[in-house]
Symmetry: C2
Subunit: 321 residues, 2 copies
Amino acid sequence: MLSEFDLIAKYFTKPVTNASLGIGDDCALLRPTPGTQMAISSDMLVSGTHFFPDTDPRQLGHKSLAVNLSDLAAMGAEPVAFTLALALPEPDEAWLKPFSEGLFSLANLCQCELIGGDTTRGPLNICITIFGQIPLGQALRRDKAQHGDDIWISGTIGDARLALAHCRHETVLSENEFNMVLQRLQTPIPRIALGIALRKIANAALDLSDGLLGDLSHILDASRVGATLNIDALPISSVLEKQPEAFRLQCALGGGDDYELCFTAPIAKRGRVLEASEKTGVPVTRIGFIEKEPGLRLCNTQGELQHFSHRSFDHFLTSKK
Amino acid sequence: MLSEFDLIAKYFTKPVTNASLGIGDDCALLRPTPGTQMAISSDMLVSGTHFFPDTDPRQLGHKSLAVNLSDLAAMGAEPVAFTLALALPEPDEAWLKPFSEGLFSLANLCQCELIGGDTTRGPLNICITIFGQIPLGQALRRDKAQHGDDIWISGTIGDARLALAHCRHETVLSENEFNMVLQRLQTPIPRIALGIALRKIANAALDLSDGLLGDLSHILDASRVGATLNIDALPISSVLEKQPEAFRLQCALGGGDDYELCFTAPIAKRGRVLEASEKTGVPVTRIGFIEKEPGLRLCNTQGELQHFSHRSFDHFLTSKK
């Protein structure tokens, strides 16, 4: 059986270039680039809460890092490094090999290197802490949305929730449709390049992990503003488009795991937002605007107010099993 | 029932001063002090593997942070901030309140602030990632031990293992004795001040978490040297002193959870090591020396070679339940 040290050596020790010192000492050492600040985020994924116990380990390796990279993207930070703490029921190489491959495949793509962590025995739990850097003063925060800003989101939303609905037998998709939306749930692509391109353009940003309405509320609360969204403008996939309206809205407005960026920017910068989108190849859509009046209102293209009852994903109120 | 957001707000959100931005955004922001590098370490503590499920939550809060601070101490780093990712079976305030009190009590003492993290539902799991800073080039690493160095350790070793032995009915201590050694197991004091004082004095250092022999071997392997230890010189408590010799050695040489520093320093710096000890109020003891010949040898004060079979704590080979 693999010992902890063998396991780390075999699957998780890679040469580092961003860091001064990687795995193997009490701490890793990072030398920050002068003139930058460090963005730090931590996410814990638990078997049975965030993913099905039989989830493909390669996809899980990808997703574990992707959700953290998405937090960097939401701040406009460039990925630098991450730590991985992993609790496993047993050191199972048939699981570890594909998990580490999925993890490092995305890590290499984003030039984000593993510099330390921990492995231990326990119920499957994956905790990644990620480090990025941003030029001083250029971080995209939640508390800087301004009255009059447009509200934008990248890509399309709701597909991950739709895939989950199929798994839970809440709806039935064709095999083709299911495969299309499943990859949004299992292997989300963090919007790193777009986040970086939006520095000095967006006023506020976050990533959509718990559902648009709940997540956008965080921007509104932190910035002490309100907003109106046009539900007819929400960018959704052709697969979700076919679903009945109420369920479609539930997926798009309340579903989690989208890992798209939601950001606000002054009307005067619409051209620059579209340039950032074009430069990075990530579509963006204007879905509403920031207002002085607190609260979040939904309307249709005709400007009629719409009602929608939602609750964002909360790890202690709902279970994603 | 407390939601995730309520729980974070109530127990884990404190004002930050070291960080530019704390809890509440996608990432926290740290602005490193110019001329320093950042030391980063991550530890995951799992119920049933690292602690008994009924462990007092206040002590667990202390220990979860202490083991990470100890990693900073071992690099000579000054604590700055940490993230906490916490999986809980349910948001139990009777557990959360004392846990957060134990955590923040030590955090405040060490001026190390909580800047972010995650809370989720799942089997009890505590993952802390810690950040410290060190002037460039002054980190105490494992790979710089030199032939001829003295080997030192701080404090006393073996008491945490002795406490565990009592809990496991491997030995029987009086109530007084048990309480003395139990605090070494439950509320270890990280040797932050000593680690900082040893900058530019020690050649190599680490903290003793898995047992002296196993941990020291990491220094020897990384530095490509060997060592001889004098087992009669090992600093142990009056409680451990009373145990039979074989068991005493097992606790001192093979027991984990000591969280003392083990470091090597040139003979010419003995005076400076003792000054660092006096200045920080932490006793240090010379227990051996580094040699060219690979391997780790044990002798007594008479210089006679001793034999001892050990195995350091490995989370996948043994169980600490």
